[in-house]
């Protein structure tokens, strides 16, 4: 059952958001542009089975709630419900300034209330409600006709409704922001009012208490005006009212009314409020050539995603239009994509620093996210290549061992041993200690040096295309030189071999020390203060492969015999001619554990050929020193 609930949270909750319809009776019916609207909604929702219809005010034009206009409005909704053929499962409506019947007495009272909402008490509110009787009447007629079994009829312009859809508990808060209006334009004079706020919080708590374990999934506010239209003091109060966990705790606010303002989302440190607007360019407005907008939201709670489909009317049809939203980069597949809860959607990757307070966090954006699959693919290709290369080494070694040991065909023991080696190399078989000695043929150690070079070369070949085209990348191994307590370059490869200088011998650096002690990759750009060497590389990763026995014990103080450990082998990737993206690539290589990959590949080689890391590196060091002496 629980699993079933989890799966349901992956199902979209669909909200159809209409606003500012401004319906008038025209030739015994409603405006033909609304017929176009119904047709478009029907086509957009053809693949949806359950819809919540939200109407955020201004149903009738200019408060003219006469019988004709009311019938026209009801006819519109009848046609909409009928076209959607039972898909509308719930209806949530709030009044707009055009839903208030306008008369001069009410205007006088309202103008006073705009100055001081405390004036609205008891009977005064009942009087205000009368101005919305037409709106309440339409709402109740629709509830009665289409949702006879659901909540009782409404008697107020604001309130709280619990909706259960697809095993999700949604709480809708209907907020009346229009009661304080008395004209077409009351911007910045409006109030929600303390009386309404207190009542909404009380009803909301009651509603929460009625839900098992208080398990609500989303709280959605609906109001005609966005909160930026309220009196400044009310705007601040509403911010608290909507965002506080112990008040309304809204996740989404659906509004209408506006024609030309940018949308503002509100959030504090614990909570975010996604504000969604629609209805812009009302159907009967003088500027109707702007086009009327309606929206469909597909909310996916498990994915924390809100897909917004906004449609704008043209002369003969509706089209996608997101011009009122500014987030162009969020338009994907003809829809706008937002997180529902912003505070839960700021993931980052940690760029390690040995000093935790200096650890930097890189917040993910779309550029970074699209890089991850390419880098993951490049690392997979690299591992695949290295596995293939190890197989070549095995085949060559096997060939060589056969040639060396098959001199006498009659030697039973050797033949069996070769069989065992074949199985060990190519069929994942076990091998005895005795047979292992055969693996130590004369080239095994010098091959190791070539193998380390292959790691550098193959890694660069696989990752170079992830960077900008001018990049210079170098991958290198250094080995520890006990005599001077420094690190000398062993193998190094670059994508621009001729332009890159050979790695210098360097002393034991703080970056190396940090990488060794933490067992993590240290990225220079995330730890600039750790660097104590002079380098022309703009950014680099320092890795101490976690191979078996990758350390020397060094006596740092002969009098006290104090020991310090030094890694035998270090690895690094450095870049030059860097752009911001390139630093991100290095960060992601680190995030995707390039160190594990390198360590594993080296261990695989050492284990397969039964080689001791320290002994091999000592031998290579001798070759290197010998060459220096020769010079």
């Amino acid at each position: 059952m629980e699993n079933f609930e989890i799966l349901n949270s992956y199902d979209d909750i669909c909200i159809l958001h209409l606003s500012d319809l401004h319906i008038n009776k025209i030739r015994n019916s409603y405006d033909s542009s609304l017929k176009l609207l119904i047709r478009d909604i029907q086509s957009q929702l053809c693949n949806t089975d359950e819809v919540i219809l939200v109407v955020s005010g201004d149903i009738i034009n200019k408060g003219l709630y006469n019988e004709d206009n009311k019938l026209a409005a009801l006819a519109f909704f009848d046609d909409l419900f009928s076209e959607l053929n039972g898909k509308i499962k719930y209806l949530v409506m709030v009044p707009g300034n055009h839903d208030k019947i306008r008369d001069n007495v009410n205007k006088l009272i309202t103008l006073k209330a705009q100055e001081d909402e405390e004036l609205i008490k008891g009977n005064e509110w009942e009087y205000q409600l009368k101005a919305f009787s037409g709106f309440i009447d339409i709402y109740n007629k629709l509830l009665k006709k289409y949702f006879a079994n659901s909540d009782a009829a409404i008697s107020n312009t604001f309130g709280v409704n619990k909706i259960e859809l697809k095993d999700q508990n949604l709480i809708f808060i209907r907020i009346d922001t229009a009661w304080c209006s008395c004209s077409n334009d009351d911007s910045y004079k409006l109030r929600v009012g303390k009386f309404q706020a207190e009542k909404l919080v009380e009803e909301y708590q009651k509603c929460l208490n009625a839900i098992d374990n208080h398990k609500k999934n989303l709280t959605i506010g609906v109001s005609h005006f966005p909160i930026s239209f309220l009196v400044q003091k009310e705007e601040i109060e509403c911010n608290k009212l909507f965002l506080s966990q112990d008040k309304l705790n809204l996740d989404i606010l659906l509004c209408g009314h506006v024609h030309d303002v940018a949308i503002a989302h509100y959030f504090n440190h614990e909570h975010s409020l996604l504000t969604l607007l629609t209805g812009i360019g009302g159907i009967d407005q003088d500027n109707s050539n702007e086009g009327h907008r309606y929206s469909i939201y597909n909310l996916n709670i498990a994915n924390n995603s809100c897909d917004i489909i906004m449609r704008k009317s043209g002369k003969t049809s509706y089209n996608f239009d997101y011009s009122i939203y500014t987030g162009k980069e969020r338009i994907i597949d003809n829809k706008l994509v937002y997180p529902i809860k912003v505070t839960e959607s700021h993931p980052f990757i940690r760029l390690f620093s040995p000093n935790p307070i200096q650890t930097k966090n890189k917040f993910l954006d779309n550029d970074l996210l699209t890089l991850i699959p390419s880098i993951s693919q490049a690392l997979n290709d690299f591992i695949h290549d290295m596995t293939h290369i190890i197989t070549m080494y095995k085949a060559t070694a096997y060939d060589y061992i056969c040639a060396e040991n098959l001199q006498e065909e009659s030697n039973e023991y050797l033949t069996d041993s070769l069989e065992n080696i074949y199985e060990y190399f190519f069929l994942d078989g076990e091998i005895s200690e005795n047979d292992k000695t055969l693996l130590l043929y004369e080239d095994a150690i010098s091959n190791f040096s070539g193998f380390l070079m292959e790691i550098c070369e193959t890694l660069i070949r696989r990752i170079k295309d992830l960077f900008n085209s001018d990049i210079i990348i170098r991958a290198h191994f250094r080995i520890y030189n006990e005599n001077n307590d420094n690190y000398i370059a062993l193998q190094c490869q670059s994508n621009e071999d001729n332009k890159t200088e050979s790695p210098k011998d360097i002393s034991w650096t703080r970056i190396m020390s940090a990488a060794f002690e933490s067992g993590k990759i240290i990225q220079f750009s995330a730890n600039p203060k750790l660097n104590d060497i002079d380098t022309s590389w703009e950014d680099f990763l320092t890795i101490v492969p976690r191979c078996i026995d990758n350390f020397y014990e060094k006596i740092t103080d002969k009098s006290t015999h104090k020991h310090e450990k030094r890694p035998c082998l270090t690895f690094g990737v450095s870049i030059k001619k860097t752009q911001l993206k390139d630093i991100n690539v290095l960060s992601l290589l680190s995030y995707l554990k390039l160190d594990e990959v390198i360590s594993h590949i080296i261990d695989e080689y050492l284990y397969t050929f039964n080689i001791n890391l320290k002994e091999s590196l000592d031998k290579l060091k001798t070759i290197k020193k010998g060459n220096k002496n020769e010079k």
Partner: protein, 110 residues
């Protein structure tokens, strides 16, 4: 014992016999041999034998171009005997016995 001959689809030549082949004969030098030479010259100074290093770089470049085409590491690279000699010089005879291959299509008829 699995038939070891199954692995041998090409003719390996003993490096010490390479001198007997015509200088424009093409042989397949195994990736590992070539890499070892490159790794060794990295350990040495690249400056010590510039000509050999240039030939080596070219051979490795060819190897990696092959890799790009095949989308995976290739077994080795075809080189003329003269170039092989430039890289390995006196050390030619010390190469592992099976590091140079004469592919059947290049095998001498005489």
């Amino acid at each position: 014992m699995r038939n070891k001959n199954k692995l041998v689809t090409v003719k390996y030549i003993n490096p010490s016999e390479i001198i007997k082949l015509p200088s424009d004969q093409i042989v397949l030098v195994s990736r590992i041999t070539l890499n070892n030479a490159r790794a060794y010259s990295n350990l040495q100074s690249r400056e010590s034998n510039k000509e050999a290093y240039a030939v080596l770089l070219k051979a490795c470049h060819t190897l990696y171009v092959q890799d790009e085409k095949m989308k995976r590491p290739s077994f080795g690279v075809e080189m003329k005997i003269t170039d092989v000699q430039k890289i390995f010089g006196k050390k030619l005879a010390n190469l592992p016995k099976r590091s140079l291959i004469v592919k059947p299509k290049y095998q001498l008829t005489k």
